[in-house]
């Protein structure tokens, strides 16, 4: 008999990661459907502190390997630790966040255990054969799938399931410490050095306003107007894959499937057509304003507001209007 649903909870400095809490929310539903308890596994020095916060998320038992060798990301070692936790509980399913790390670690578990793994699921229905809905194309497309395996390995798509700290018994989970045996090969791949973020100013991922530019900006120099507007709004500049491929902007400015996913209060899309791979990166914005010469471009279907016309005239006019309305400074 399967003993539980086991959720892998990533943490930093004793705080559980948000995407892991989303994964817990889905895992809790699976445990409930199966009538089994929800366990968590946590790794590294902050593991115990983070585990203590999981009661409201439905976790009854937390397996913590507090070994400092897990403090840095070491995918093979993290995978080995999760397999050790699986041996203790024979779970029906292991659920992780669909974060870079969550997907990578669960792939290690899957490879060593000879099990299939379904990445970025948004729904799951246990049964004789488990039914899943998972994201393809970063969420532009959904797949209904079947998963038949003795243990189901699942990662949960980011921002598809709400965090739910509403468990009836919000008592802190019971904590059980364990020390997984690591092979030397498990520790070969680990961090040897790190560099802090160097750019100053508001980052594209944190900005409340993002001014995005696409092919319609016309040149690297054309982005100066977008920079000026972003500056007036306390925001950051991003772009489409076309502008990073042309070298007008660095790749770190790219929004979309193979770039950043942003969620600002306002996204101003200038000269961007609205290809699905771009939209998956900006659809979490509260509001989208499109500036485009083509009233029929696909961006119009996702934008809330639009101005039709040439951005090289419109963007500076908006900046000038903002400055005109400002009270004169002393």
């Amino acid at each position: 008999m399967s003993g539980s649903v086991l959720a892998f909870v990533e943490q930093s400095g004793g705080e559980p990661d948000r995407l892991s809490l989303e994964a817990l929310s889905l895992a809790r539903g699976v445990a409930k459907a199966l009538g089994v308890p929800l366990d968590a596994v946590l790794l590294g020095s902050g593991g115990e502190a983070a585990a203590g916060r999981l009661g409201p998320h439905g976790v009854g038992l937390a397996h913590v390997a507090a070994d400092a060798r897990f403090d840095d990301f070491a995918p093979a070692a993290w995978g080995a630790a999760i397999r050790a936790a699986m041996e203790r509980r024979s779970p029906a399913a292991v659920v992780a966040a669909g974060s870079d790390r969550g997907n990578e670690v669960l792939a290690h578990v899957a490879a060593h255990a000879g099990l299939p793994m379904a990445a970025n699921i948004v729904e799951v229905t246990p049964g004789d054969s488990w039914r899943l809905v998972r994201q393809r194309w970063a969420g532009s497309l959904l797949e209904d799938a079947a998963l038949d395996a003795p243990v189901r390995l699942l990662t949960v798509a980011p921002h598809a399931v709400a965090v739910d700290p509403s468990a009836a018994s919000a008592a802190a989970p019971t904590i059980t410490r364990f020390e997984p045996d690591l092979e030397p090969a498990d520790l070969v791949v680990r961090v040897i050095s790190r560099e802090a973020r160097t750019t100053s100013g508001v980052s594209l991922s944190d900005a409340k306003v993002v001014v995005g530019g696409g092919r319609g900006v016309g040149s690297a120099a054309g982005f100066e107007q977008l920079e000026a507007l972003a500056g007036l709004l306390g925001g950051a500049v991003g772009g489409s894959r076309v502008v990073t491929s042309l070298g007008w902007r660095p790749h770190s400015d790219q929004i979309g499937q193979t770039g950043l996913r942003i969620a600002p209060d306002l996204y101003i899309a200038c000269g961007i057509s609205g290809a699905i791979q771009h939209i998956v990166g900006c659809k979490a914005a509260k509001r989208i304003l499109a500036i485009n010469t083509d009233p029929d471009s696909p961006i119009m279907a996702v934008a809330d507001y639009a101005v039709i016309g040439d951005l090289s005239a419109i963007v500076p006019a908006i900046s000038a209007e903002i400055e005109r309305r400002r009270p004169p400074s002393h």
Partner: protein
């Protein structure tokens, strides 16, 4: 350095996705195809490394006969050798894909010598299974790390130094002994465009073809049996049932004006939603 890059042929989707009537695939009648973007950077990096360090480069794909096009694209920018594992149509699950790629790599290395580095994309653009590279690395018993956007070598060329973005910003560097496997991300480099002579050269090159038949997981009920794909007891899956488009959340945009004359209306809006204050 001897380098292998594993690439996948994916449709070049744009404004919206259209599915086939049976919901089994994207309707590609009006679409071109491309190599997944992360892997394009893997191809470019392999060419640059061999230009600088010497050695040889190869590209491998598991896909339909038409995936020859993506192998020739890779050869057009300088990859020397190409291997096509030809499927009989239909999609392969990631477990079967990885098992077959690992088996092929072992055979290739037995014949032509070892690969120092094998590049995968961090995830394939279409299925996004996030696992094939890790599975192949584990099957080969080699170290692997994903998310790589910068690659350098140790002075003695026995190690590779690979950088990835840290969760809160900044960078982490990993050191892997060679031979190693890296999952790379777009941003690693800016891939070059193929030259006309490059394209002509690629057109004439031989492609090594291996016929595979149907997926061993039997997703389409044509299964060849698990043993034939060297699954080694691994359970294949997940099994695709059908594809669907997500429900549309937004409605048509509210057009607030035309041209620069719209600026006052735009700033009214910016004030109303609280992103500019007087």
């Amino acid at each position: 350095m001897n380098i292998l890059v594993c690439v996948k042929r994916v449709p070049q989707t744009g404004g919206r996705i259209v599915l086939t009537a049976d919901g089994q695939a994207i309707d590609t009648r009006f679409l071109g195809h491309t190599i997944s973007p992360h892997e394009e950077c893997g191809v470019e990096e392999a060419v640059r490394i061999v230009e600088k360090e010497g050695g040889s480069s190869a590209v491998l794909t598991l896909g339909p006969p038409e995936a020859e096009e993506q192998l020739r694209d890779a050869m057009a920018i300088g990859i020397e050798r190409a291997i096509l594992l030809e499927t009989a149509g239909g999609e392969w699950d990631p477990v079967s894909t990885a098992a077959t790629i690992a088996e092929t790599i072992e055979a290739q290395e037995a014949a032509n010598g070892p690969f120092d580095l094998i590049f995968f994309g961090n995830e394939a653009a279409d299925t996004g299974d996030y696992q094939v590279g890790v599975r192949v690395a584990v099957a080969l018993g080699r170290p692997v790390i994903n998310g790589i956007k910068d690659i350098r070598f140790g002075d003695d060329r026995h190690t590779v130094l690979a950088k990835r973005e840290a969760p809160g910003g900044g960078w982490e560097t990993y050191e892997l002994p060679l031979p190693a496997v890296l999952g790379v991300k777009e941003g690693l480099n800016l891939p070059r465009y193929p030259s006309v002579p490059g394209r002509l050269r690629a057109k004439r090159r031989e492609i090594e073809r291996v016929a595979l038949g149907a997926s061993p997981s039997g997703a389409l009920g044509l299964g060849a049996g698990e043993d034939s794909a060297g699954l080694d007891g691994a359970v294949p899956g997940p099994t695709k049932l059908r594809l669907r488009l997500p429900a549309e959340e937004r409605t048509a945009a509210d057009v607030i004006g035309q041209g620069p004359e719209a600026a006052p209306a735009v700033v009214d809006l910016l004030e109303r939603i609280g992103v500019v204050h007087r």
